[in-house]
Amino acid sequence: MNLILVTFIILLAFTSYYFGRKKALVIQSSQRLTALPKFYGYYLAAWCAAPALIIFALWSVFEPSIVKTFILQDYTDQNLTKNELQLIYTKVKALAAGTYTGNITNFLDESANKYIQLKGIANSAKVAIILAILIFSLSFAYRSVQKNDRMREPVEIFLKWVLFVASLGAVLVTIGIVFSLLFEAIRFFQAVKIFDFIFGTHWYPAKTFVRDGQPDPELMKDAFGAVPLFAGTFFIAFIAMCVAIPIGLLSGIYLSEYAGRGVRKYAKPIIEILAGIPTVVYGFFAALTVGPFVKEIGNAMGLEVSAESALAAGAVMGVMIIPFISSLSDDVITAVPQNLRDGSYAMGATKSETVKKVIFPAALPGIVGSILLAVSRAVGETMIVVMASGLAANLTMNPLESTSTITAQIVVILIGDQQFGDPKTQSAFALGISLFIVTLFLNVIALSVVKKYREKYE
């Protein structure tokens, strides 16, 4: 029903666009138009679609809760808790849809009938109201088309509002996410001291699990120390950058300065393919190929290497990040003005001297920016770590041991059984917001570094 209604509105909008344009051509024969004919079409289409769709959206948002209030009115005298009421309502809905399998009481049956009835009324009312609005707004718009009112401004204003709503949506969603993280994290910090979280060196949330009642506060104190996770995160990111920065940067320089057109044409897309490989694929590549390989080599040298090592995860993550750095630095190096190169060559500098002394410094802000972007990416990477570096949060600086990161722990916490009010679950939000703060911090630094160098070099 809803689908038909929306389709109808959209089709009508299209029709009114063509109608409006045609009308404009008719007006043109007798008087000067206030805008191009297509604006008349846009004007009609906007007046047709916008009010109807807005009312439709509002209706769809509020209808369920209004129906729910009507249904649950009959139960107010039974002194039920909120959860029980919710359960009843779910049952009523299931019964109405014919998917209910439990005991059907008279009371439930009555409610279900009422529900069906209410839904029917709501639906017809919705259709009626929307049709009324369509007729009203279309006739209003048509009258002003007929009067040959100014068409350009209203259309521009309408478009401005469409864009505004879109960006408002994006901003609101972001704020919503941050706040939901924040509130859950605050609840977590009511159970676990923030000091214990930031400075504790043991991460073992599973031991706080108790079947009933509250967990022992002493246990809580020692289970949520995030230091091993932060250490692991930065350690693995560090290994990744050790792989990605030299290879990425050097290949970027090669591609932009040395490679002939033929090489560049094929090499660049091939490197960029690396960026298109899903991280899960990197993950099992790390876990099944690189991990055992590192272990074998280590064992051959007489070292003790665990099958899941920070080295394997970090190295593969580095490979994943190479295209970021190489592609971005290639772009910024190519953007260095040719006249700087000419100036250097004309002084008798060789290619490598020119790259080292002129091009690299000139491109540095962009390169630093791309590296910091890549660090953010490495810090936020999840799948490779989950699959290749294990889930035990060891506090270690040995790349051959298994270690874990913030993102991997969030995965561990939120898969499988969980209770929402549990500190273990809420700790995921605390980790999430700390990760968010870290990457935000990195990005801010990246931007300010870029800005500083830009002032210096331009």
Binding site: R261, G343, P361
Partner: protein
Amino acid sequence: MSKIKAENLNVYYGSKQALFDVSIDIAEKEVTALIGPSGCGKSTFLRCLNRMNDVIEICRVEGSIKMDNLELNSRKLDVVRLRENVGMVFQKPNPFPKTIYENVAYGPTIHGIAQSKEEMDQIVEKSLKKAALWNEVKDRLDEIGTGLSGGQQQRLCIARAISVSPEVILMDEPCSALDPIATAQIEELIDDLKKEVTIVIVTHSMSQAARVSQKTGFFHLGKLIEFGPTDKIFKNPDNQQTQDYITGRFG
């Protein structure tokens, strides 16, 4: 005395020929101006003299250019040495995004000319003085070269070019991005420099060519139409096309 002698020079960009059989004899310690309408090949010719065309992949140079009997258009030529001897100043000032000092010290560093910090300081000071920039920047040598005004930047580029004491300086429309005052300063500078170096300057301004040069060559459609003493070219050219161009009838 002849410094540079080009014979039957042909230059191609891909399949398009940019220079046709250009033969020219550039005298030592004189200013030679190259004039002509846009796209006539005068910049292309200039860039042959320090092999800057090497940078352009599709460019091909045929013929002979001799500088003091050294064949420049040869695969065996040491381009780094050549460019140490033949400096270049470009149309748009292009100081490096480095300090003023580093800009001037760039060439001497690359060619290992200065043995000590003191010597380098001297070279930088001498070059900036010769470029008539020293008094304006002596207190801020560690500021970024790109922060100077356009005319100062161009003089900085000239200082950079003369820092390695080249025998020849090529100038590719060095004043086209500058205001009249800065232009006058540069022209004065060119006049000073010609006591020590051979200068080849490409310019769109005929009055500039008349003011600064001793010899003038007129290029048109990739051919050197006429070459001779500046006075003669401007007052009494042999060729009708030169006459038309000088008097502003085309170009």
